[in-house]
């Protein structure tokens, strides 16, 4: 019974914080809510007998990707930018269409989804997953590593401004003056020398 309680508690957390991402106007609060939602999803992976994947979910999503998001939001000092309101008709259409889509999805899942319980325990420790990955999936694995390399180069090229390469230094001497204080109006920061 306790697993059901855990499921509902963390499902509620995942849904509530995911909704906060959509509804809250402040991107920093949105990013932190998304972290909470991802953490709840990691608990779901534990319930699904994949603890290895749960740890990876927290390390990769909560520990790396979302920190990157927060870093960019704070670097661009976006929290004081007024996000323009979406037009009411657009907002209405967005909510109704996504609600209709969601209801249809849940209806068909409830109607045609798998309802019988899986038989027996599911072995998904690091060893079995690793062996399977490097036997059957070695080619996709290499392709993903090349994709990651391409992404690194692309990100570097896109974010580097003319003359500057790579990550601009964040030494306080050059940037504190330009970093907009919370009460300042100017949102612009110079990061490259």
């Amino acid at each position: 019974m306790i697993t059901f309680a855990v499921f509902f508690f963390f499902a509620a957390i995942a849904v509530i914080f995911a909704a906060t991402v959509v509804l809250h106007r402040n991107p920093v609060v949105g990013a932190l809510s998304l972290v909470a939602s991802f953490f709840a999803l990691a608990v779901m992976y534990v319930l699904l007998e994949a603890p290895f994947l749960a740890a990876l979910q927290v390390i990769v999503y909560a520990g790396a990707i979302m920190v990157l998001f927060l870093f960019v939001i704070m670097l661009l000092n976006l929290q004081h930018q007024e996000e323009p309101r979406t037009r009411p008709v657009q907002q209405f259409l967005g909510y109704t269409s996504s609600a209709a889509f969601g209801l249809a999805l849940i209806y068909y899942l409830a109607k045609f989804g798998v309802t019988q319980l899986p038989d027996g325990p599911f072995v998904s420790d690091a060893r079995t997953v690793g062996i399977r990955m490097f036997e059957a999936y070695i080619f996709p694995f290499e392709m993903v590593s090349i994709l990651l390399l391409a992404a690194i180069v692309g990100a570097l090229l896109l974010s580097a401004r003319t003359g500057a390469t790579g990550v601009a230094p964040l030494s306080a001497g050059t940037t504190t003056e330009n970093l907009a204080a919370p009460h300042d109006a100017a949102p612009r920061i110079e990061v490259a020398p």
Partner: protein, 100 residues
């Protein structure tokens, strides 16, 4: 043991919330976060089916999805930094140079 379709329904709800965010928000980074949410909802489906059918393929796909999400986050955020440098905003409506 929790039935698989409960996880699927949770995943559907999360996916729908992500869709809603992409459709209604204008802040580029928030839209991006909603996309990450949708990707995670799909991951949950993969893992739920992996346990249902005792297949490791689903788990391995989640690895690949995570790697691709990381690549996507790096490139996407670099695009937003670049956009911010040129337009001083990351409102996606302002990025309309290629719009017909």
């Amino acid at each position: 043991m929790i039935p698989t379709h409960w996880f699927l329904i949770l995943s559907a709800i999360l996916f729908t919330i992500g869709v809603c965010g992409v459709l209604t928000r204008k802040n580029g980074i928030t839209i991006f976060m909603c996309i990450e949410l949708m990707v995670n909802a799909v991951n949950l489906t993969f893992v739920a089916y992996a346990r249902q059918f005792h297949q490791l393929h689903g788990l391995i796909f989640v690895f690949f999805v995570m790697a691709i999400a990381a690549a996507e986050a790096a490139v996407g955020l670099a695009i937003f930094i670049s956009l911010f440098h040129h337009r001083h905003t990351i409102d996606v409506d302002e990025a309309n140079l290629m719009r017909w």
